[in-house]
Amino acid sequence: MEKEKFYYDNEIVKNFAIATLVWGVVGMLVGLIAALQLYNPVHNMGSQYTTFGRIRPLHTNAVIFAFVGNAIFMGLYYSLQRLCKARMYSDLLSKIHFWGWQSIILLAAITLPLGLSTSKEYAELEWPIDILITLVWVVFAINMFGTIIKRREKHMYVSIWFYIATVVTVAVLHIVNSIEIPVTFFKSYSVYAGVQDALVQWWYGHNAVAFFLTTPFLGLMYYFLPKAAERPIYSYRLSIVHFWSLIFLYIWAGPHHLLYTALPDWAQTLGTVFSVMLLAPSWGGMFNGLLTLRGAWDKVREEPVLKFMVVAITAYGMSTFEGPLLSFKNVNAIAHFTDWIVAHAHVGALGWNGFLTFGILYWLVPRLYRTKLYSNKMANLHFWLGTLGIVFYAVSMYWAGITQSLMWKEFTPEGILRYPNFLETVLQIVPMYLIRSIGGFLYLTGVIIGCVNLIKTAKSGSLLKNEEAEAYQMNLMDQTLKKEKKHRWLESKPTQFAILTTVVILIGGIAEIIPSYLIKSNVPTIKSVKPYSPLELQGRDLYIREGCNNCHSQMIRPFRSETERYGEYSKAGEFVYDHPFLWGSKRTGPDLARIGQKYPNLWHFNHMLDPVSMSPGSNMPKYDWLFTQDLDISTTSAKIIALRKIGVPYPEGYENIANEELNKQAAEITEDLIKNGAPAEQTKEIIALIAYLQRLGTDIKGNQKNQNTK
């Protein structure tokens, strides 16, 4: 029986490795610039394209989809070929996947600073890019399943299970969350509105963390950790339990991002219950990883690769402990909307994803280039700078989050808010913002040192583009394995496996989302809630363009500390025309759900021109370009038509008079501003934004009587 000779494709692995490093540095640099702006907005360099609201999504997208995404593909293309004992299915598809993914990232890097955004977190890219993502993902899926089908190894190792779950689930999540109605080539509206949009978005957002940042990395862990430690995984049985329970439970937990919001209680509770259960498989996986190193801890002391991996797995354990903790309503009441969540996310991103990526890179690059790592010392330096960076980052953000939250909630003995001015709570934590940026700087410095080390390593060797290997064909192996009559039907057949995985992840999604459709027709509508006027609608789109939702929530939770500060708590019925919802997830500034009519137009005019003039010490940037740029009203009628199609009750033919209405309202606001001495111009964008802000929350402000069931 002759073994078959074939070659592994190392070139594609190398390409993804380079992309990982390049986008890693870019994404983290953008993060650092964003962090600097939080304590001094001048770091936006006076440009709208580099202002926080626009580069925050750029940072998150770059880190998640560019840095971590390329790292996934790098590790997956390397390990899949070896676990399948086969070259990738098609070199052409590998190339299309690589260049397609890089062009998506490039388009994101162009469109997000331009303000072309859907506002939905981690899904900000506009519809043409969404379609491109779908196509590239399909190419990737064909290439991956093709490789699995033509494999020479009968069994699919657990890493491949995690890869399959990733490919299938990310596809489902991306498609469901991106259903939007295009208005122009660069603008679309989510077909979902309000509560439903929030539920779909956080079902997506949470599971993007699960199936983009977690499952593929667990697949990588199950392959690269045993390789680096030169010993098998602690318990393969545990890895099977880990896999199935993780993918089953994860998909239900999304609503824990919406505790105490206007989302129905049953969905919130479901999110909490499943999040708590999620601790079991997560920690099972962590122990499986750490116990793999039993008897090899002396190696961990010597070997940078293992050091990175140990910290990564520990960070995984920490953030998956914190996740369930934050899902308890009482903890969430304190942590939500604060920097605590930022800390939680960064322990995961910097620790788990970042460190596992570099652990793999330090192991992989010397092998691809047939050489030794250029410098162990530099790798150790990187390790310590990174670890220190994470500590600085996380501790300062925990401190900031808890401090600010307690200040928001503090009452005097007389029963009034101790810190009625939101800004006071921001100024208190500015030193923490400074320390956070130092943490980020240290981490980035480590990464740059790592890049230099890896480049030097590559230069000292030569890339083995096609690596020779040999294995028996699978049908030959079949004969040798005949004894295994009851061989594992499922795990040896990728198609059945993928279908079962899809079913498992769909159960949770269906059980959560379908009832929300049932409710839609039963949700208490509020008579006084009307669609936005054309000017307000344009203003809302400016709010989305500037990414205001990155710092301001529009969701007053039913706490006394919030109703005292912001007004009546938010009701589900208030958001029925909000395509997309703009509840936000972080309060760097105050909630805006009831900002409407709280201040005169002039206040907003001056505040947007120079926030410090109205709120001394404010860390909000100036939005002076809104005062020079003309509002684009060519899109008004298209927007009205699009929104009507998805259920907003604008009367037929309204699109024809929409701009007339728009100008009328703009003239009123401008007149009021001029009367009060502001040099306002009717055609400028600021007028639309003021119109929108003045509308917010006014539909039912202090008027509960209007609430009626349909």
Partner: protein
């Protein structure tokens, strides 16, 4: 408030029952499966990532045996 809506929504209790029963069935099936998994399968599987070491060593020039 939402309880009230649910009372009005016909057949909505099916979702709760559906969720609970799938959950139980899923984990019971998994436990049974885990108990029945054969040792030799597990030991074969856990060695899988390490297997290709032979090839690797063939191709690998000396000097990079740090891990």
């Amino acid at each position: 408030m939402y309880k009230f809506i649910f009372e009005k929504t016909e057949g909505v209790d099916v979702y709760g029952i559906f969720a609970l029963s799938t959950f139980f069935i899923f984990f019971i099936v998994m436990i049974i499966w885990m108990m029945r998994v054969k040792k030799d399968y597990l030991s074969k599987m856990e060695k899988l990532p390490l297997e290709e070491n032979d090839n690797e060593l063939l191709n690998f020039k000396k000097g990079n045996n740090n891990i």
